[in-house]
C-alpha cells in the first residue's frame, strides 16, 4: 500500500514549482495520492507555513507530509525527514515542521536527507523541493524507512519556532496576531481557554486595543451573531481567539498585521 502525501509550500499559483514536485512524486510513486494543503503561504513565511501545517495535519490521513517554505535553500540548513507516531514529515529544518510535530506529540526519529541516495542528480542549489524533498517524500510513501534515505540526527537538535505567548492580566488579555486569512479574519496566538480565563464569555462586550486603534466588540460564537459589519471576537475553528467582521474584514478595519500585539478588555 502506498501512503498518501500532503503537500504545502510557498510556491504560489503562477509558476511550475509545485507542479514539478507533483510530477516528481508521480514518477516515483504513481499510486501515491497527493493532497494539496496550500501553495499560497506568503513567500518565505516559515511561521505562517508552520501554523497552517499544524492546524491541518490532525485532519489528514496518516502518511507522509511534505512541506517546503525554504528561504535558506542551498545554505547549510539541514533537509530533514522526521517521524511522529504514524506520520512522516519532510522539509527544511527551519522550524516549518516544528509546530505540527509538537501538536502530533513530538518527533521520535529524524534523518538528514540532503545527500539522500534518492535525490535527483545533479541537485540544484535553489530547488530542493524538486530535487530532494519530493523524491524523499515519494519513497517514504512507497514504504521506505527514514534510515534508508538519510543519516540519523538527534530529534532534540531540530530547529523550533517560538511563538509569542499571551498574557492574562487583571481585566485584560494581551496576545499577538498570528495568522491573517483571506476572509480578513485575524487569529491571535491565544487559546479560547485563555480567553475564558480573562473573562471573555459569549455575548459579553469588550474593547479591542490594537497598535492603530481601540474599538468595541462583542464576544460571539460566529459571524452571524452580529449584524453585517459588526466586529466580533470568537474562538475560531482551530481553537484560537480571533477577530472578525461579519461579511467584512477585521484585518482591514483594524489595520492588523501578523505580529501586532493586541489587548482584549472585557467591559
Amino acid at each position: 500500500m502506498t501512503h498518501p502525501i500532503t503537500f504545502l509550500s510557498d510556491y504560489g499559483p503562477d509558476d511550475g514549482f509545485a507542479g514539478v514536485c507533483r510530477a516528481v512524486i508521480a514518477r516515483i510513486a504513481p499510486q501515491a495520492r497527493v493532497i494539496d494543503l496550500s501553495h499560497g503561504i506568503a513567500r518565505h513565511d516559515v511561521r505562517r507555513g508552520a501554523i497552517v501545517l499544524a492546524n491541518a495535519l490532525p485532519y489528514a490521513p496518516a502518511g507522509v507530509h511534505l512541506a517546503v517554505v525554504d528561504p535558506g535553500v542551498g545554505s547549510d540548513r539541514r533537509a530533514i525527514a522526521v517521524r511522529s507516531a504514524d506520520r512522516l514529515l519532510v522539509g527544511p529544518d527551519n522550524g516549518l515542521l516544528s509546530l505540527a510535530l509538537a501538536r502530533l506529540g513530538g518527533a521520535t526519529e529524524a534523518v538528514e536527507v540532503s545527500a539522500s541516495p534518492v535525490r535527483l542528480e545533479p541537485v540544484s542549489a535553489t530547488f530542493h523541493g524538486r530535487d530532494v524533498f519530493a523524491p524523499v517524500a515519494a519513497h517514504l510513501a512507497l514504504g521506505a524507512e527514514p534510515a534508508e534515505l538519510g543519516e540519523w540526527i538527534a530529534v532534540d537538535s531540530l530547529v523550533g519556532i517560538v511563538l509569542p505567548e499571551s498574557a492574562i492580566e487583571p481585566g485584560c488579555l494581551r496576545a499577538t496576531v498570528g495568522d491573517l486569512d483571506g476572509f480578513g479574519n485575524a487569529a491571535l496566538l491565544a487559546t479560547a481557554e485563555e480567553g475564558a480565563a480573562a473573562g471573555l464569555a459569549p455575548g459579553r462586550a469588550l474593547s479591542v486595543e490594537t497598535p492603530a486603534t481601540t474599538v468595541d466588540a462583542v464576544f460571539a460564537l460566529t459571524f452571524a451573531d452580529v449584524a453585517a459589519g459588526g466586529l466580533i471576537v470568537y474562538a475560531d475553528s482551530d481553537g484560537c481567539l480571533a477577530l472578525a467582521v461579519n461579511r467584512g474584514s477585521a484585518v482591514e478595519r483594524l489595520g492588523l498585521s501578523a505580529g501586532d500585539r493586541v489587548a482584549l478588555r472585557p467591559a
Copy 2:
C-alpha cells in the same frame, strides 16, 4: 466503488481551508477522486458560485458535488445534501446549489445534515466545510444514503436564486451582466437564442449600451473574428451571450461589474 467528488468553494488559494477539506475527505474515503472545480469564487459570492457550479456539473462524472460559499455559516441557515438524478449535491442551503439542481432536472430528495452523525466533533461555528460538508460528501462517496446522514426536508423548501431576466424589446435586448471571467469576458444573463430573437446574427453590427458608455461592436463567433482590440458580442461556451475584446478585456474596456444592465441594439 467509490464515487468521485467535485469540489468548489470561495476558500481561495492562500489559506489551508480547501486543503483541510481535501484532507478530511481523504481520511474518510481514501479512494475517492477529488476534482477541484474552483476555489477562487469571490468571497461570499453565492451567485457566482452557483453559476460556475451549474455550468460545470453537466461535464462532470456522476457522483458527489461539494460546494461551499457560506457567508451564513454558524447561523440558522440549513446544511443540505440533495439528490438530483444520479448526483448528490452537498453544501449550504443558500441558493448555491440551486442553479445546478435546476439544470440537472430538479431535486428529488433532500436532507438537513447540520447534525449529521458523520460530522466532526466538536463542530466549529465557522468552518462547516471541514466539520460538516466534507465528511458528509466523503460518506456519500462511499455509498451512504442521504437518509443515513441527515433528516428529510421538503425539496420545495430549498432556497433558490432568482437571476434577473433579459427583456426583448423592438430592436433591443436588455440583459444583466452575470459573470466576469479572468480573461475579461463578461457573460450576460441571456441565452444565445434570446440574442437571435432580438436580431443578433453572425457578422451583424450592433451597439452596446452600458451604465458607463455606448460603443459599437459586432456579433461574432469567436475572438479571432475581429482584429486585436476589437469588441465582440458572442455566444459563449455556456450558451450565454457575452462581451469580449479580442486579446483584451471587455470588463476593463467597458467598466463592467456583475449586475450591470446593458442594452444590445442591432444596427
Copy 3:
C-alpha cells in the same frame, strides 16, 4: 493501464475553466491521474507557457501532456496531438508545445484533432480546452492511438517558437530575460555553459546592465551565498543563468520585464 495526464494552462485560479477540463477528463478516463503543472501562466503568454512546460516535462512520468494557452481559439490555428518518444502532447499549434518537444528529442508523429471523433458536441468557438483538448487527452490516456483521434499532419509543419539567443562578446554576455517567477527571480535565455564561456565563475564579481540601470553583482551558487538584499547571478534549477536578490526580488530591484536585454560583464 491508464496513463497519467499533466495539465498546464493560463486558465487562472478564479474561474471554473481548469476545473471543467478536469471534470471532462474524469468522466472519460476515471482512472487517469491528473497532475496539475500550473494554471497561472499569464493570460495568452504562449512563450511563458512553453518555457514552463519544457522545464517541467523531463521530471514528469511518461504519458499524456495537456497544455492550453490559446489566444487564437476559434481561428484557423490547428489543434494537435503530437508524439515524442513515450510521450503524447496535446494543445494548440501555436508554439506552446514546441520547446518541450525539442527538449524531448523532437516530434515523431502529429495529428490535427479539431474535428476529432471524441470532441464534445457542439464544440464551442471559445473553449477548446473543454471540448477538444481534454477529451483527446483523456482518450490518449486510455490508450487510443493519435491516428484514431485526428488526421495526420507533417511534424515539420508544426509552429515553433524562436527564442532570442544570447551573444558572447569579449568581456560581455548579452542575453534576454525569459521568465520571471513569483519569488522575483529572472531567468535569462542563456545557459550556465554560456555564462562560463563568458568568464562567469563562482565568487566572481560582475556588473549587470539592464535597460533601466547598471549594478554590481556576484556570481554565486545560491541565494544564501550573499547577505539578505544582495544581488546574485547564478545557474538556476533549469540550467539557465538567472538574477536574484537574496530574500528579495531581482525583478523589482532591477525593474525587469520579460524580453528585456541585459549585459553581464565579469569584473
